[in-house]
Amino acid sequence: MKVKKMTKVLSGLFICSMVLTACGGSNDSSSSDKKESSVKLTTEGFPIVEEETTFTMMAPNVGMAEWKDMPLFQDYAEKTGINFDFVTPPSSDFSTKLNLALASGDLPDVIYGAGSGSLTDSMVIEYGEQGTFVALEDLIADNMPNFNKLLEENPEIRKSITTPDGHIYTLPTVSMNEPSAIWPRGPMWYRGEWLEALDVKELPKTTDEFYDLLVRMRDEDPNGNGKKDEIPLTDVKMESTRPWLMAAFGLKAFGVQEDDGKVTYAPMTENYKGYLEFMNKLYSEKLLDQEVFSQADEQKKSKGQKNQLGLFPDWFSYFTTGKDEKGALEDPMFQPLTSEYSEEAVVPKSPGISRGTFAITKEAESPEALLRWVDYFYGPEGAYYINKGPEGVLWEWAENSKGEKVRVYTDIVDTTNVEETRGKLTPAYGLTIPNIDFKNTDDLMIRNEADDELDTSFADFIATETESKLAPAGEVPMPLIYLSKDEIDQIKDTQTDLQTYIEQMEAKFITGVEPLSNWDKYVKTIESMGVDKYVEVYQQAVDRYNQN
């Protein structure tokens, strides 16, 4: 008797829970049919909308300030009439949160500043096809004069952001004029004082010369403290040195790379074996940091600040050494190497376009308004505006003694740490955002005092080093292509397995845990994971790209 009642109670509860879940699931379907937009646009310029309106935006927060407090958004909202409710999880958590939002259907109107690391190609294709993301290609011509002009002048961009089914779902960051735009990631830098102490007149150009220099750094006490604490070469998990050192062996990518239309898988070539042999030699002779695979970035930086590093990767050298811009001028950039495997120096080059920085979802009432909102940043005025913020926060106009109008920092800015202030006022700090990079011309530079001479020595240094060392050797490892949904499905498993395996094996080969005599076994494993199919799919996509 008792049991029966229990069953009744339980089944009652079960039914309740089913009803609850049914309610929970129903919100997916309601929003698919398009509502009549209540947002009225103006014909041109600012404001964009006739009546003030609010959208929701999801973006990664790099931890400098709350987005709603950023003067840039506040000022731009006044100009345009478009406000935002921000959902900004910390950038370390962003991928997860974005995936959850997309999977649960709890969508923002705009996904901003995600970049292809978080809003991956396969997500763009999948959610685009499902109609979660709005296809933008037809709206661009009418609503985005700046961006449209860019597309017309550079057909490459349109090609790179169009998916195989002919749609544009995300807008890119375009950086074509800055010298550092060709860096695939931060370059490597030599510690200048060490080179001086060792009387090095010319930077190594071959792997042999490079090896010799590292040995001297290890043995001859270049930091002059009488202790043998020098670490000639360092990195965190090889992530930033790999592209530059693999390049000495003629390899441009830690994965698939394209040469003259032909796709190969670099980590199974003889050249790559040569790279591993070389790195293993560096590691076993303590020329490569012994903690390269276990340390975090902070540890690397603290070694740099203790003057223990001879060669290290970073965006700018002073981030690691702790010097200032002036001090960084004495630390030269790494000169690409050649080896018996590659007679000509080759380094990977960034295509200058990053995708996935701006996507509009089906929830957005007026994609047109949002496109007009973002278009401003693709023009010279808006690009400057989003980088340095509105007048009166970071900078203001002043008149110098010659009567010229110049830009100077405002009183609130700590001029020894401008980036700190900048990070609090605009999202254009530590994120790839939808905009275009323009070269900083003299009239755009900001001075400390109105009568200061412009100090462009650091920018010039970066430009010269890049132009002379990296630019001549730079090649894009793989054109920016999209795979189709079908192609992604074919290689999804292989890709994850391969990536995990080669990273793990690289570490083992370099540290000598796995002897290089097991190379054949390694290649066989890669083959058994289906690398042939993987390369074939990419080949197909590259062919398609080259035909268009």
Binding site: K5, S95, S122, D497, A507
Partner: protein, 301 residues
């Protein structure tokens, strides 16, 4: 019906006490369970859970065929069983030892010192582990060096991963887990001890014949409960400790599910893997429960 209602009415305060816990479990543990059906579907968010197409056991097949399947299973079971073998007896020993101490400053200090690590967050904890084990600057390696042993890079050697994981876990949780045994020990009838003393039993004998049998039911229950969670290793700590060199022994099912499901957005696949994990877990739990029931007449259900 009326009889049950009467009972409920009579004990309504008790039922009211249970209600929040009951609701929490219902809402957060039972209701979301219907989501596991996406393990048998190709989940497409736009179509919703019910609208997505059925695919049968495709995702399970894919997992079993995966290159990393055996590694994952081996590591998950390896780390769990290692933790269980080392981590289970220690709190009991600690509790028995503490119980023998007379109340006083020393006992209080010992207890506080052993509890304290329980309150350190995982992130800080892993930071401490990494700092202590650093081959050139770490405390442990300084000690090794001083004693004439060779310095070791614990974090990048796959052989050491499990040990570091388990021992740091023991350090963190032993004191805290001993609390429940101490509570059980306080229930020992003092008359038993007095009688044993009269009979000339030594301290160890009394622990063996009086204290241990008293806390045996507690031990069995806790053992069953830890077996139940044997496959559900917390992925946070492992993820934080992972690097390419120890991946071989640190890649476990829960980190794999996190990677595939949340980072690569393969929800159906990750759910299938998670479900497989839970099924093994359930099988283990039920078997141990059965065995305990047979041997000890103590069981969870």
């Amino acid at each position: 019906m009326s009889e049950t209602w009467k009972k409920i009415k009579k004990n309504r305060q008790l039922y009211l006490f249970i209600l929040p816990a009951f609701l929490v479990i219902l809402i957060f543990s039972y209701i979301p369970m219907y989501g596991i059906i996406i393990a048998f579907k190709d989940y497409v968010p736009a179509l919703g859970i019910w609208g997505s197409p059925w695919v049968g056991f495709k995702h399970f097949q894919r997992f079993f065929d995966s290159y990393y399947f055996w590694d994952l299973l081996k590591n998950t079971l390896g780390i769990s069983i290692y933790s269980l073998i080392v981590g289970f007896p220690l709190p009991i020993i600690l509790a028995l030892a503490l119980n023998e101490l007379k109340d006083g400053k020393f006992k209080k200090i010992t207890q506080t010192v052993t509890y304290a690590p329980n309150f350190i967050s995982v992130v800080v904890m892993v930071g401490m582990i990494v700092a202590f084990l650093n081959p050139s600057t770490g405390l442990i390696n300084h000690v090794l060096d001083f004693l004439g042993f060779e310095r070791m890079d614990f974090m990048s050697d796959p052989k050491w991963f499990k040990t570091v994981y388990v021992l740091s876990g023991v350090w963190q949780s032993t004191g805290w887990s001993s609390v429940i045994y101490l509570a059980a020990l306080s229930g020992v009838d003092p008359e038993l001890h007095e009688a044993a003393v009269v009979d000339g039993a030594s301290r160890l004998r009394r622990i063996w014949h009086i204290n241990l049998p008293t806390i045996r039911p507690t031990m069995v229950i806790l053992l069953i409960m830890s077996v139940g969670s044997i496959m559900s290793l917390g992925h946070e700590k492992i993820l934080l400790m992972q690097n390419p060199l120890n991946l071989e022994s640190s890649n476990v099912i829960s980190t794999f599910v996190y990677q595939q499901g949340l980072l690569d957005a393969q929800y159906s696949y990750a759910t299938a893997v998670g479900l497989f994990n839970s099924v093994i877990n359930a099988i283990l739990l039920i078997s141990v429960n059965k065995v305990a029931d047979k041997l000890n007449e103590t069981s969870l259900f």
